[in-house]
Subunit: 212 residues, 2 copies
């Protein structure tokens, strides 16, 4: 995949989508500064994977510790964690209110300071039903806002917006990504739980790519 920017600030969670975007950008020669967030999620597992990916592949990176501003989600421990398919209505319990706008705002601030050309964000089509702040209309509106947030603003770059997770994994396989070095599970156990929405989406995408 070709990318139009020389330097980006990437939102890196340590999961499949953002890790694939990282590798794809680096493969195309883009300089990547990764930001990851400690936002009240119940475990640091994904951050450990994000750090490892960042150290190997990014120009530099940073974990940002946010104050206690998010509540009301299964991911912050305020609701029971739903099991089942990623597209189930129950998965909306994993929405963290306006989390991605906060992440993107901070990434935009850092992009301005570092004179990076864009903020790279791995939202994709499978997220649309569950996460309001991954939907196309949100991405487009945020892109328009970021474009006027400064006198020399960065751009919002969301190259996976039309892809499904299975397509992202296919892209990653072509890039030689070892997905054992990514973490999706919402629970923080030693091994992935296999039952939460993130595990179910991951396993589905992997199975699709494994079938002949």
């Amino acid at each position: 995949m070709r990318h139009p920017y020389n330097s980006v600030v990437l939102l890196l969670s340590g999961g499949i989508d953002s890790t694939t975007l990282l590798h794809s950008l680096v493969d195309d020669g883009t300089s990547v500064y990764a930001v990851s967030f400690r936002y009240g999620q119940m475990h640091d597992k994904e951050l450990e994977y994000a750090m490892r990916q960042a150290r190997l592949h990014c120009e530099s990176n940073r974990i940002i510790d946010l104050p206690d501003i998010f509540a009301g989600s299964a991911l912050t421990g305020d609701r029971p964690m739903p099991e089942g398919n990623y597209t189930d209505a129950s998965m909306r319990q994993t929405v963290v209110p306006n989390r991605n706008m906060v992440f993107l705002s901070i990434a935009a601030s850092i992009a301005i300071q570092r004179k990076a050309e864009a903020i790279a964000y791995a939202a994709h089509a499978d997220d649309f039903g569950t996460y309001p702040d991954c939907r196309r209309e949100f991405v487009e509106a945020m892109g328009a806002a970021i474009k006027v947030c400064d006198f020399a603003p960065p751009r919002l770059y969301v190259p996976f917006l039309d892809l499904r997770k299975r397509d992202i994994v296919a892209l990653g396989r072509d890039l030689g990504i070892d997905y054992a070095q990514t973490w999706s599970c919402y629970a923080g156990g030693e091994e992935p739980c296999g039952k939460c929405g993130a595990c179910s989406a991951r396993n589905e995408a992997m199975a699709w790519n494994a079938s002949p």
Copy 2:
């Protein structure tokens, strides 16, 4: 001034604009939750005034301590503080990169969690030349983004957008606001410096309202 919302989350800095908006909202019966930010500004003076106003007039309030994400501004001590008129090009040294988008994003998250109807933001016409994240185009773009950030999103409410600071002071005088209980100066001295852009804009608006 009549306001269309019953409950708002207000960005409260402790200066003239947001304090006037607070009083105007409360005067009209709106329930106000105020958020103020410790974002790396060089002094806590404005926050002390914000806290005092909030304790007297808000339903409740909160100061949020942000991690070290902003740099590159005179307000964060990274450049010399310019003196002179608020509209001078040198005032752009007081821009904190994308600060207001970060503030608005967090306020939107809190509004969703508190089920507040809107985020109230006291950007006004005098800010347009200096602060990119106060301009009409930014306010409109952020309003559009906030409207799609959640399945039950708040609205962005910016009732002073067409007013100048002198008009805001006139409104505040009608509401009986004691502006000695607000703080504008960018420097953190015992008394306002009288020379920074914030002092010059404040003094100009006060003088305009004092003249017969």
